[in-house]
Symmetry: C2
């Protein structure tokens, strides 16, 4: 099997570290590894497959090296500046930031949902927002089988979605110390505030869920609204998703679809207290779906409860799965 030279940009951050962990765990065929980070973190040593690597500084000529794929997770500004440089030098960038997600020339890909969009990539591929990834994995089988008219998202998002700083703020709160990162305490509280607020009253996170769902499912006629909320959970986002289908369905058929769907684990036996939960999804790559039930307020409504590890499937694992899909589709 051919192997590849892989750069991980933002290698010392929460998602970057998880990318390295997932690359090793899923045995991605790596020839040479190039961990990169900002000047501040350059020079640090990191471990990969029990071997030590020195983190390189991300700079304009970093991609003059022989690199096939670069997984970026270093924030939107860094991606905006360095992704085009890498891409111009023939590196395929898989970018975890929001910088290019809505760029019509950049595919936005969840491998279980729209791998075919990889075929038209121009060296930059965007990894969707964490809360969108798990939602579209769960929605895709419904979309294909019954069609979807409208979606109402309400999310229960883990602090690790804000990186190390969010995580630390919950730890501080639990110890009775003051918050230094979120605008309010997150311990024993719910914050209906993820990313910044826009003039229309929505957060950027909410609008990402709307726009990215439409882009990934190739359907701008999809009607979507979202309320995104931070909860005192360390890992894994939970989502209450209300779906209006276009066509008739029955709940058993939906369960059968989910039993066969790629990347999904059906956990739906409420009488035995089995339903998706954040603490069970932690460190898994699958999307967990349960609480499937008819919404009696609509002709073709269904309610879902969808949980996934936001750092793995919501970020690092999806990026690595995109890299695998590139190999599978002979695009690299």
């Amino acid at each position: 099997m051919k192997s590849y030279n892989v750069a991980v940009v933002g290698a010392t951050g929460m998602v970057g570290q998880k990318m390295l962990e997932v690359l090793a765990e899923l045995k991605f065929p790596i020839a040479n590894l190039y961990p990169m980070a900002s000047k501040r973190s350059a020079g640090k040593e990191i471990l990969f497959n029990k071997k030590s690597y020195v983190v390189q500084e991300l700079c304009d000529d970093a991609f003059d090296q022989d690199i096939d794929i670069a997984l970026f997770s270093a924030g939107g500004d860094t991606s905006e500046r360095f992704s085009p440089i890498a891409a111009a030098k023939g590196v395929i960038v898989i970018d975890n930031s929001s910088a290019f997600r809505m760029d019509p020339t950049v595919p936005l890909v969840v491998p279980e949902v729209n791998p075919e969009d990889l075929d038209w990539h121009k060296n930059i591929i965007a990894n969707p927002n964490c809360s969108t990834i798990q939602a579209v994995v769960a929605l895709k089988p419904l979309y294909d089988a019954f069609g979807i008219k409208r979606i109402v998202y309400s999310t229960y998002q883990a602090v690790s979605g804000s990186g190390v700083k969010g995580y630390a703020d919950l730890e501080r709160g639990i110890k009775g110390e003051e918050n230094t990162f979120y605008p309010h305490p997150i311990a024993y509280n719910c914050l209906p505030h993820i990313d910044s607020f826009m003039d229309n009253g929505y957060t950027k996170e909410e609008i990402k869920m709307v726009n990215e769902t439409q882009k990934i499912l190739h359907d701008n006629s999809l009607r979507i609204t979202a309320t995104t909320v931070r909860v005192p959970v360390y890992y894994a986002h939970s989502e209450s998703i209300n779906v209006e289908l276009k066509n008739e369905f029955n709940v058993d058929d939906v369960k059968t679809l989910y039993r066969k769907a790629p990347g999904i684990v059906l956990e739906d036996d409420p009488q035995n207290n089995i339903y998706p939960m954040a603490i069970n999804a932690e460190n898994k790559d699958e999307v967990f779906v349960g609480r499937i039930r008819r919404d009696f307020s609509l002709d073709n409504g269904v309610n879902l409860w969808v949980v996934a590890d936001n750092i793995r499937k919501g970020a690092a694992s999806n990026a690595v799965q995109i890299a695998f899909a590139l190999i599978e589709r002979k695009l690299i």
Copy 2:
């Protein structure tokens, strides 16, 4: 001002204690107080207005005493057995359990919303479910001004909603100890499971929200669905409410309505990080409404974020407010 003989049944429980606290704080005109509880707790001493009272055992002849009003918060079975006994003896029972809520001969009342239903009481008045109370307070101004077609509820409910045992389970989980009350750990987790599951896949809590909302707003044509979720928060329930209105509206008019609505505090200045939060609602009697924004996926859709203290407005305070409303309406 006339004063009344008041019994508090379940006086040693979490809601019962809060009822005593609220009766004192809101200066309900009490002549004699009769704290009651099961045999197990009878004989205990409790404090009310700095005076000590011995808790009486709740038994068949407990209501032979001269009692005007009994606030019940001792579970459905106790209410089912003793409320009719008290009512038959001329006591007005305000019952916090679910036993009589859907009984068509029993008014289900939130004083800001449907105080007129008190007029036809037959000595038993039901206090709605905590998650319903705060929702209908927020929905009533919209219902009156624009009409409501459909509601999608997703809740973020505090552990105190399960009483002392739920509270203690979160404390245990935070200390790293095992859960003994909930079927799964609640610390750093979300449980899409409140009350027991029914055959249709819904929890009783979810169905309560549907049925009680219709009953309180006197509108069985209201289309409603709900997903109710326990989160690691001690006090105050948060709710993401998606509403389809019947008529056109604008967001500023909705805010104006909420500024004037009884029992509501508008907290909606997201640019300054002002929105309703559980930690701010704790120990308040108002319902906090914010994140008001147009749902662009519908012609007349609006999203709300609604927070209230589940033990105060969601239980004890609403019951005491019903007692005050009885006086105001000269029904006692």
